[in-house]
Amino acid sequence: MKKSAKPLIVALLLMLLIVTTLILFVIGTRFKYEELIREKIGIEVELRAEQTKRTNLFAEYQMVSAENIIVQSAKQDLGMIQDYETINKISIEKLQIDQLNQMLSEKYD
């Protein structure tokens, strides 16, 4: 009995130690997993907030960089005037332009 009981106790204690270690490991892993999940949720929320912020900034950028805003600012803040009231647009067929170019070229040649 004396010779056979000791190894059994040691074996049992060892087994107990292994089981306990495994349980602790599982619990530890689970805690870590839960922590990572929480972190992931937090990061997802932050990501969404950043995406929304980016969209908001894009909208702001479009608003301040719109042509009418720049023109308004140029007129009101810088006192510039828009010289479009007498713009005249004349369309000419390409053939006519070619003839004109040819005429000019001949004159210079």
């Binding site: 999940i37 909208a59 010289d83 004349i90």
Partner: protein, 665 residues
Amino acid sequence: MINSRSLIVVILVILFFIGLTVKLVDIQIIKSEELKYYAKRQQTKLETVPAERGLIYDRNGVLLVHNRNDVTIYIDLRMLPVKKREDVANKFSKIFGKSKKYYLALLKQSGKTICIEKKAPQEKARLISELKMNAVVITEDPTCIYQYGSLASHVLGYVNNEYVGVNGIAKTFEDELDGENGARLVERNALGDLITISEEETIQPVTGNNIVLTIDKTFQSILEEELRDGLKKYKGLTATGIIMDPNNGEILALANLDDYDPNLYWKFSDFQRRNRAVTDTYEPGSTFKAITLAALLNEKACYETEVLNVENGTYKFRNTFIRDTYPNDRLTVKEVIEESSNIGIAKLIQRLSDENFYKYVRDFGFGNYTSITLPGEVKGTLINPGEWSKLTKTFMSFGYGLAVTPIQLTAAFSSLINGGTLYKPQLVKKQINWLGKVVYENEPVEIRKVISRETSQRIKNILKSAVENGTGKSADSELISVGGKTGTSKIAKDGGYATGKYNSSFIGFFPADNPQMVCLVLIDSPELEKYGSKVAAPIFKNITDRIVQSNPGYFFKNENHRHKKTEENQISEVKIIYSENHVDKNDEAFVLTSNTEITNGRMPDLRGKTLKEALFILNEIGMKYNIKGNGIVNSQSIKPGEQIVHNKVCVLNCSQSEINGANVY
């Protein structure tokens, strides 16, 4: 002895483990389902993950509506001891910048849970959550942001407290914009802190589709600004304006004034929030004469040069007097439209049967929904010919006895000048999902062919003439050719007409030869003037001019557009634009940038111009020339402003020099 004791210990340990195993088996296997159920019920909760709402863009990708991830913060008073209230109030006061008193007053309220901050920015909410206060509950409460305030408010609609679309596109496309909410199984501890989330039982939310409208933000701004100015200038009650592409039914701008700011929708009345362009009707008056004449021309019941007796402005028809604003003895059919003669059109319509005229009016879309994707549309009033009195057709010919919505009239008018096809008015160009994939793209919807291409061309010419020579003169633009028709109609009230109250309107199109836009301007009850020619037409002109100036390429890219009245205008910039059919559109010949006058028979100032520019001008006016030197023109032998004498030669002295860039602003 030692062995016996060891054996006892071993046996006890084994028994203990056996007991433990039995209990474990009981918990984990036998009562597993029951206990799992109770545990789940206590600790876990199925939470909704709200989907992000889709965005709304204009046709050029300008973001009009977007979202902000705001939060609402609640305090569970049961979990907040009275002595800690001051501390909480202090912390909130520091973060949100409101007084401590304000928060203390809120915390003194009765009830289990109180809302302490509504629609707070997420950054501030994060600061609150970092303080780890047990009683604080933070929930997502997103906000829709209308970037340009009241701009296009009647088209966009608004989102209410429950984040549900009300009015406009927000309502019609609620399902598409809203997306699909997700869900997740969340495990929380007794304090409400998150323990974990079951990944297997998580359904990801699907973000709503983004909507690209046919609206052009620039045109919309111009329309609203000009309507606002016009309303103020003529002291009108309300104004409505629509700009439509007649070739596909796309609405480029739609506005009603008064309007509202969708960000603060609760501050405005139902009237201000109503999209009167689709929900309200009016008698169109003389603008309807174009519709009547189209029916007559299409039926070959008259022709443009036919002369009519218009009775010097007063005509007794079936015991009722019909009067013209501008009395005339005789007018051609074309002049009937130019002068807006009620008598002329009333006489002409007698050539069509009631049924035939009704058929045309109906075919143009009156008395029916346009099926525009906006809520609350009405179909107007168009009486069945069986119920017509002896005067109905006659009065209908000049726009009385029927009620139309502004959108109906704009769509019908578009069909008049686009070759005769009635298109469904469209507001949505496409829908894009959150992955950027186009899920739906609108194509033009042809409803029916109402009149022939030839009739359409004839009507277009008549309407162009109505602006050049008729009542629509004040709508004429120096920048682009315009066609259109004025309208002045009494306002129906209590079964009769309101005294001294008129609807002044103008509906026109440009460029006249190849219409790209139809624009309706309707001013309700202007106090200073009543006629469409005096009120709505000048507003139309301002809108047209600004639109052309803002985006000339829009009109000139598809046609070889020749500017009218060239000789009358001072030229400061001559831009050579030619047809896309001939050359690449970017292949511009050259641009003259300094002031040059080509006045009637007068010599232009060529000094400071490049030789090429000067020669272009001289060739334009047909003058012979002689060149000395090269580069920039320093002087000219015929002085600027001098009368041009035939066959006289102009000597240009040139030298090389640098041209500084011209200031545009």
